[in-house]
Amino acid sequence: MARSKSTRAPAEPAAKRRTGTSTGGPTRRERVEAMQAEQRRKERRIRLIAAVAVLVAFVGVVVLVQSQRGRIDQTAPRPAGVTEAAGGIALGAPVGSGKPLVELYEDFSCPHCRDLEATIGPTLHELIDAKSATVMYRPIAILGDESVRAGAASGCAQTGGQFLAYHDTLYANQPAEGSGGFSVDRLIEFGGQVGLTDARFTQCVTDQTYRRWVQDATVAASQRGVHGTPTVFVNGAELALVPGDPNAVTMLRDAVAKPAG
């Protein structure tokens, strides 16, 4: 294969050297070589332009497609009582009642969420039962598809009127992270444990009716600056609670007791 040795060294230097020693103008061979060098340069430029064009076009198309996917779907089905797209499930005092608002971003597959639940769960239950605060659960999915399935199923439980019991059951049965343990079958089974035995619940979990709601909630969370779970907000201000830290309960109670600013 007698290809040109390098794309980086065009033929000119050699041509020039020879021109220097020859008496007349460039020989026929030199002119041919110069033309070929010019041709190679041209092709290299075309290749570069083609590469840049392909890259830019590809990036452009993907950005368009992805931004379509990343948009919050205002018409996606929402669990009962959820008033806006990608909204949370509010328990305790009604929204707008003037009571403190506790928001909890959580992922049912996340071990730290389970730990935080064990730490502040009873306090949240108290606040809900006494209607002394609005506790808004915001299930999101940052640990893959089983988080999406579990979050969607929790929405089904909300529609079935058993959100909190189902929520606690999910944590009590949390599978090892990434094991795929939150299968549709298991999620239906957990419903049975809290009295969700009707066909409507089964169908909702199987169809993953609220799948988009969980995905949109995840996007909305990210837009709000929530990069991980669990994340707690009290009256709109993030509260840095450490799962398992007994002080977390005091911190939460103090934040709730503080008049909303």
């Binding site: 007698a2 980086r8 890259l55 600056g225």
Partner: protein, 163 residues
């Protein structure tokens, strides 16, 4: 002049460059594909760096994986290899700078280099590891910028053969 050494280098260099192309293509291809699969995670990973504002994080989260995948394809087929290597190097320098920046600001995040990303526990960051890997890849890209010529590349095939 040690002709044999020059010849040996000339023989080995194209194959090393081919290996460099394939390595970068593999890494960028996997990284891009994993991120494209979950755009929400990609934008979350970008915003976790707290460098770009939220709207721009979305754009970066969408565009970056595409650029990575596009680069992987260009490197794989060997089209505009030096250009692709330069873009790769620029991306890698940006990645390294972003990770160092996150590290020095005391953030606890995963680099999100291969999907995932976002906040992690304070003790489980892997900044040094991530930087070392990216510096290694930067060296590979540097080699390719210096020696873009390699077999099985479109860059060569469209060239007229010399008599």
């Amino acid at each position: 002049m040690a002709v044999s050494t020059v010849t040996r280098r000339a023989t080995i260099q194209p194959w090393l460059s081919l290996a460099a192309r394939l390595l970068l293509a593999g890494v960028f291809g996997v990284a891009g594909a994993l991120k494209l699969a979950d755009p929400a995670a990609a934008t979350r990973a970008v915003s976790a760096y707290e460098i770009v504002p939220t709207g721009a994080a979305d754009l970066v989260g969408y565009a970056l994986p595409a650029a990575e995948l596009g680069l992987a394809v260009l490197l794989l087929i060997g089209l505009a290899v030096r250009f692709s290597a330069i873009v790769s190097a620029v991306l890698l320098v940006m990645f390294i700078a972003a990770i160092i920046s996150a590290w020095t600001r005391g953030l606890s995040i995963d680099c999100g280099c291969f999907g995932g990303g976002g906040a992690v526990e304070a003790g489980s960051t892997r900044y040094l590891e991530e930087i070392v890997r990216d510096v290694g890849l930067l060296l590979v890209a540097g080699w390719l910028i210096a020696f873009p010529r390699s077999p099985f590349a479109l860059d060569r095939d469209v060239q007229p053969s010399q008599p």
